[in-house]
């Protein structure tokens, strides 16, 4: 079985989160005869790019994912999403509307969902009740208990002798929506000052991404109560730092976003032979025997050279990791989950690009014969649309529609424009898309002229099912658009469906304010 992880970019494919999850899973999968590889979403452009058996969308929150998932479905591929962050349950947060819309739309297109924690499983079961969900924990790296015991013992002895602790905080330092990362570190910084007692001293290394080290971020760190040094995160520096430090500090706050996180940081720290001081929300409870929740307990144990992580406790670590983070187990769960899915749904034959409803005109059949493929995807481009979604939809033989809000200069198939003088909506059909219309509508077109590289025909207003309110967006500003979107987009979608009844339309809108919080797909 060939499994392809679809990522947002080349850079993301090499990020820490991706490496922790998929590289380690790939090692386990190989043993089972499966192959896991990753590609950036932008590289999936043509039919020949879709050669894998299973596609897994990871953090690709764009309309391009709708187009690809739709097309993969037509080609009989198994498609799923992998969710390891909760951007979906904060219903009162308008900024995250686009994520909620994305999940709901993808929910209608996928065969399965994966997630990293049981809490996220609960979220997905609630939001996508029809989609089977499997929990695949973030797997640990290759693990040798003797090596861990050796490092833990050496660090503990050194700490006991010097009574000085090198403490490490590592990870992504920021998030565009939630106060996490270095904000958690600083919020729980008071705990670190408790390592500076009873004749002990401590220093901190902050290993994080550059984006988090803005003047604000650096200014926050000044509040830390012990001496600290900041380094930019790289995979190599993380390995070196884990080797050098005695203790990893893992503060977690109690917001939903943080409570959904996986155990991977604690697992990474323990496997490197570091003691772990985990404070705040008890996210790492399943590893509780191996961690500290209070600095005093850590100091007391180190003073006796008997910390939680030591040679004698290796059996506990081994047992916990095999239950919680075994890469082979993770790959196995994944494979058997997929196997179960395919046997359960063998009766549902993929459409392989053939429309299943009865509206197909002979002209579309002609297109199918002429080009070799045909897709019933339609993308409606909003104010901030995704050019890849537009390109892919057209590449796969579908339609790209310009909504009133879209300012892009693409070669659209259908345009909804305003007449500047009257404020009425003008519906223009490119000659390439005329064949998609039903015969009676085709007869009501009048020539319009050229826009960019295409020749357009105008559809007479009397032939549209819904009338657009006049003047709503004459001289449009963004504020007027936001006000108008709620009424205008449903009318536009309904019109598209009426004109092209065999096409399934998706809305491409990156603006949180304009994203329609409603089912856009048919």
């Amino acid at each position: 079985m060939r499994i392809c992880v679809v990522t947002q970019s080349e850079a993301f494919a090499s990020s820490a989160g991706m490496r922790i999850r998929y590289d380690r899973l790939a090692a386990g999968a190989a043993a089972l005869g499966a192959e896991i590889s990753a590609v950036p979403i932008g590289s999936l452009r043509s039919k020949s790019d879709l050669a894998h058996d299973v596609y897994l969308f990871a953090k690709t929150y764009s309309a391009h994912a709708f187009v690809l998932a739709h097309r993969m479905r037509e080609l009989g591929k198994r498609t799923g999403i992998d969710i390891f962050d909760d951007y979906f349950t904060q219903r009162s947060d308008t900024r995250l509307r686009q994520y909620r819309t994305w999940l709901r739309t993808m929910g209608g297109l996928i065969d399965f969902a994966l997630c990293s924690t049981p809490r996220l499983e609960g979220v997905l079961n609630r939001l996508l009740p029809a989609v089977p969900v499997a929990v695949i924990a973030d797997p640990s790296q290759a693990y040798d208990p003797r090596r861990v015991a050796f490092f833990a013992g050496r660090k503990s002895a050194e700490a006991q002798e010097t009574r000085h602790l090198r403490v490490l905080w590592f990870g992504i330092g920021d998030n565009p929506y939630f106060p996490v990362g270095i904000r958690d570190l600083v919020a729980f910084g008071g705990e670190l000052s408790r390592l500076n007692r009873r004749g002990w001293s401590a220093e901190l290394t902050v290993l994080t991404n550059l984006r988090a080290l803005t003047p604000d971020g650096l200014n926050l760190l000044r509040r830390l109560p012990i001496p600290y040094a900041i380094e930019e995160w790289t995979p190599e520096r993380e390995v070196a730092a884990l080797e050098r430090h005695h203790v990893c500090f893992l503060p977690v706050n109690g917001q939903d976003f943080s409570r959904m996180k996986s155990l991977n940081r604690a697992v990474t720290a323990l496997v490197a032979g570091c003691q772990v001081l985990a404070v705040g929300y008890p996210l790492y409870e399943p590893l509780a025997d191996l961690l500290y929740g209070a600095p005093e307990a850590l100091l007391a144990d180190l003073a006796e050279n008997k910390p939680a992580l030591r040679a004698e406790t290796m059996p506990v670590l081994t047992e916990r990791l095999s239950a919680l983070a075994d890469p082979y187990q993770g790959a196995n769960t994944f494979a058997s989950f997929l196997h179960h899915l395919s046997t359960a749904s063998d009766t549902a034959q993929p459409s392989i690009g053939t429309p299943t409803n009865g509206h197909l005109s002979r002209n579309i059949l002609r297109t199918l014969v002429k080009t070799g493929f045909y897709s019933n995807i339609g993308i409606i481009n909003g104010a901030f649309s995704d050019s890849n979604a537009h390109k892919s939809a057209q590449t796969f033989g579908g339609l790209s529609v310009k909504s009133h809000f879209c300012r892009e200069r693409f070669n659209f198939d259908v345009r909804f424009d305003f007449f500047e003088d009257t404020g009425e909506t003008n519906i223009l059909i490119a000659e390439q898309a005329v064949e998609f219309l039903t015969d009676d509508l085709r007869g009501s077109l009048v020539p319009f002229g050229r826009i960019l590289d295409r020749t357009f025909y105008r559809l007479l207003a009397t032939r549209t099912p819904v009338s657009f309110r006049r003047n709503l967006l004459r001289d449009p500003t963004r504020m007027k658009e936001i006000a108008a979107a709620t009424e205008l987009m449903p009318s536009l979608i309904a019109t598209c469906r009426h004109l092209f009844p065999h096409v399934t339309f998706y809305v491409s809108e990156r603006s949180a304010l304009l994203a329609q919080d409603q089912e856009a797909a048919a």
Partner: protein, 361 residues
């Protein structure tokens, strides 16, 4: 651990302000001196003049210059150290963002010092145009705000910042040798005409095309006539603004340009100088050169921070002032001496800066 005295160089004019302090800090015991230049400094320095100056100054003091592109890069260069971090261009004004952000981000072991960097200076002493452009509530991320004059004369220091004030004096006075105001007074009138005209047309003080045109018109007419009768007129563009260099203004053919850093310019050779309100007037007063302020005929430009100094507008005024400066400079110098005295500048500027830089261990 030794203490560190670190200087941020971001605007090209920083070099001029920091130069005397770099020299002073090198003489202080047990101090590691570091110079951090922003990449923007090199970008702003179109001609490369100030890069060469910085290299020459630091080379002479055996100081390496480190470059930083982001706040984090500067923080990385400073972390693990403690001491004093000094900037000659730090405030909440957008043009001072580099040093301001770095001050906010600096490792906690550093005390941050903002220097008054000019006579009329944002956050310290405003021209009316500064108020209009930046408002009156200028803040500093610095812990210490180091001024030139007594608080009474620093009328634009926001109440919220007053408790940070430390009065040291103009760094210019750290330069070796006394620079009394009247040192350059010649014994007898000279039969030559050599004057300096300074332009700061980029400044908010000369905002609006009208003021620029009025200044340039008066300058051109004066320079034309003065050179025709055998005089020499030097034009000195503001080192950071360089308006006449950059805007393509056509200048009279016979004028000469003064582009060297002010500390390399022999100011004593000028018999008089004319400028719109600008810090260069203060340098010239210190050098004993009779100065006049240029003001537009309608008096829009605020000259109130220079009480007692003569004001000129049209070319006729310029000639009248030049004649007075050449034939009878003494009364002009006496007025300048009065002006200088009422600023309340301390006699022990060197000692005060040394104390400031020595204070934080």
């Amino acid at each position: 651990m030794n203490r560190t005295i670190a200087f941020i160089v971001d605007l090209v004019q920083d070099v001029n302000v920091l130069r005397p302090l770099l020299g002073l800090s090198r003489t202080l015991p047990d101090a590691e001196v570091r110079v951090l230049a922003s990449t923007k400094f090199y970008e702003r320095d179109g001609t490369g003049l100030w890069r060469r100056e910085l290299e020459e100054i630091c080379g002479g003091l055996d100081l390496p210059v480190a470059t930083f592109a982001s706040e984090f890069e500067a923080v990385r260069a400073l972390q693990g150290r403690r001491g004093v971090l000094v900037s000659a261009s730090e405030s909440t004004v957008p043009g001072h963002a580099t040093a301001h952000n770095l001050f906010r981000a600096a490792p906690p072991g550093f005390v941050k010092v903002t220097l008054q960097h000019g006579f009329e200076c944002v956050g310290f002493l405003h021209n009316a145009a500064h108020d209009a452009a930046h408002g009156r509530r200028i803040g500093f991320a610095a812990d210490v705000v180091c001024g030139w004059f007594e608080p009474a004369f620093l009328r634009s220091l926001a109440p919220s910042e007053r408790s940070k004030l430390y009065v040291a004096g103009p760094p210019l006075l750290l330069e070796p040798g006394p620079r009394p105001v009247r040192d350059a007074a010649p014994e007898a009138p000279e039969h030559r005409l050599e004057g300096l005209v300074c332009e700061n047309l980029h400044s908010v003080r000369l905002g609006g095309a009208d003021l620029k045109a009025l200044f340039l018109d008066a300058f051109e007419k004066f320079a034309d006539e003065a050179t025709r009768i055998g005089g020499t007129v030097w034009l000195r563009p503001h080192p950071g603004g360089r308006y006449t260099d950059r805007s393509g203004v056509r200048l009279p053919a016979n004028i000469r340009k003064s582009d060297a850093p002010i500390y390399k310019e022999d100011l004593g050779r000028f018999q008089f100088a004319i400028s719109a309100p600008s810090s260069v007037l203060f340098d010239l007063v210190l050098a004993g050169v009779p100065v006049a302020l240029w003001q537009d005929p309608e008096g829009q430009i605020d000259c109130s921070n220079y009480p007692g100094l003569p004001i000129v507008s049209g070319p006729d005024d310029w000639f009248e002032f030049a004649g007075q400066a050449i034939l009878n400079p003494e009364p002009l110098r006496a007025t300048q001496e009065q002006f200088y005295k009422q600023l309340g500048i301390h006699d022990d500027v060197r000692n005060r800066y040394a104390q400031l830089l020595n204070s934080f261990n």
